[in-house]
Assembly symmetry: C2
Homo-oligomer: 311 residues x 2
Amino acid sequence: MKVVFALDLGGTNLRACLVDSEGNILWRKRTETPRASLEVLVDRVGFLLKECNQHNNCEIKAISIAAPAALNAEKGMILKAPNLPYLDGVKICEILEDSFKLPCFLENDANAAAIGEQAFGAAVGKEAFIMITIGTGVGGAIFVRNEIWRGLDGTAGEIGHICVEPLGVPCGCGSRGCLEQYASTSAVVRMTKEMRFKYPESRLHSRLVFSSKEVYEAAVGADELALKVFEKMGFYLGIGLASLINVLNPEAIVIGGGGSNAWDVFISHTREQIQKRAYNEPAERATLLKATLGDDAGVLGAARIAFEELF
Amino acid sequence: MKVVFALDLGGTNLRACLVDSEGNILWRKRTETPRASLEVLVDRVGFLLKECNQHNNCEIKAISIAAPAALNAEKGMILKAPNLPYLDGVKICEILEDSFKLPCFLENDANAAAIGEQAFGAAVGKEAFIMITIGTGVGGAIFVRNEIWRGLDGTAGEIGHICVEPLGVPCGCGSRGCLEQYASTSAVVRMTKEMRFKYPESRLHSRLVFSSKEVYEAAVGADELALKVFEKMGFYLGIGLASLINVLNPEAIVIGGGGSNAWDVFISHTREQIQKRAYNEPAERATLLKATLGDDAGVLGAARIAFEELF
């Protein structure tokens, strides 16, 4: 059986999986992402490969990596990895190929997730769609004519940095009012803190530390503050998506990442803004889909890329 | 010599040109666009064709039309033409082919303008760019991998309907705060009227009726009100373009339409917002270019389409 050793190199966790061509995960292991140096990372990959081989009897045909970075996929080179700066400018594929004598492939994590969802998840059969990943930040990817559109420098798909409020909240990217500042899980926590003084009855009113998941649970329990926060999140997400629908007229919009778990408390507000703001025909065309692969989207996408390149 | 009879079917003017494969316009005629019925339009096309033939000695190989409409280019069918409702649902190519025994091609006017600029104008050699047309409204088109991206329903490219001010000015499209409400020539006039009470010294302060061209002339003459209006226009245009740069990472952005003539009084404000708001690498990549074909972009694009299809 042909299998690929797929890695999702997150800012926090390094997830390794053995994946077959049907998208079945035959083995998986999660460790912390090495933050020290490139040498430690390569050593860790070797360790994971060895452990994988001990538990499995398949012949690994390639290594494929999803990385949180601006990169050149063709050259297998990381350009800029804000969370793992030791990777900046590194030809990671060349290094891993030399070390492990296996072909190596590289893709940006948001693109890999979109490729994964198209191959095995919510976007099967979709040739032109937008993937938006709601996590600590908001990432994205764009499929056009059945292929990821990477842009001239590989930086396309930064959907989290569409401006939805011109004089809004300052963003880490240097701009203000970016979608990420209203629709990410960190934005959910921030907005709850900003708004809680108006809601003395809320269970979150006097909590010092809480997670976006707790805000979601409060919303499910009909907490007025939490419901208002997700209304605001859904409102701005709808504004950003309506603009994208008018510009790109896609077949579908796939919403993934941890934040998409709050789907039932924000999506109606998102739909409302899309209906109000986008042209009718493209708005009806663009089905909103919840991603189905969860945390596995990146590794499955990375594996898919390797299978497509190899066979 | 091979020539194409190209038509730009505007809401106001119907422009007919005889175009060779190098983009030379050998003959041209402008008439008012028939507003009565399809029959009158077909009759007018016949009249123009006859007049063209009287003045020229070339063999016309095709008719090609740029139309202000949502349409299906492949089927040669107009879906919806807000300014010429008698065309809604009409297979215009079939009708003209039957009437004049010539192959007929059809394209949306904004797409045709982008194709024209790529073939003969500012975007020669660009394979991934955005065209934005500033007129009474704001139109647009997107080139990806050397081809227009029309979207699933042919409605992609509605750059004028990116939201740049969530609770902003109501827009004819049904939304509010669309780019068109701040960056079109009609927006320039409206914003001047809104703001003039604060500028009693302005030459536009007590004028009842004026054009965007007059606001531009005032700006060139250092009129404070007019300069403020173009600052606002450039600001919002920059916000919209920064979002597009983050999402699409294009090679260039071509700005055309009558409003682009005010380039020197708004472009610095646009650049400022792009620099502040878009990621550095794609912002530096995306050259801002002034369209060079003026009102001929549509006919030249239409002609180009016919030459590409025929030869």
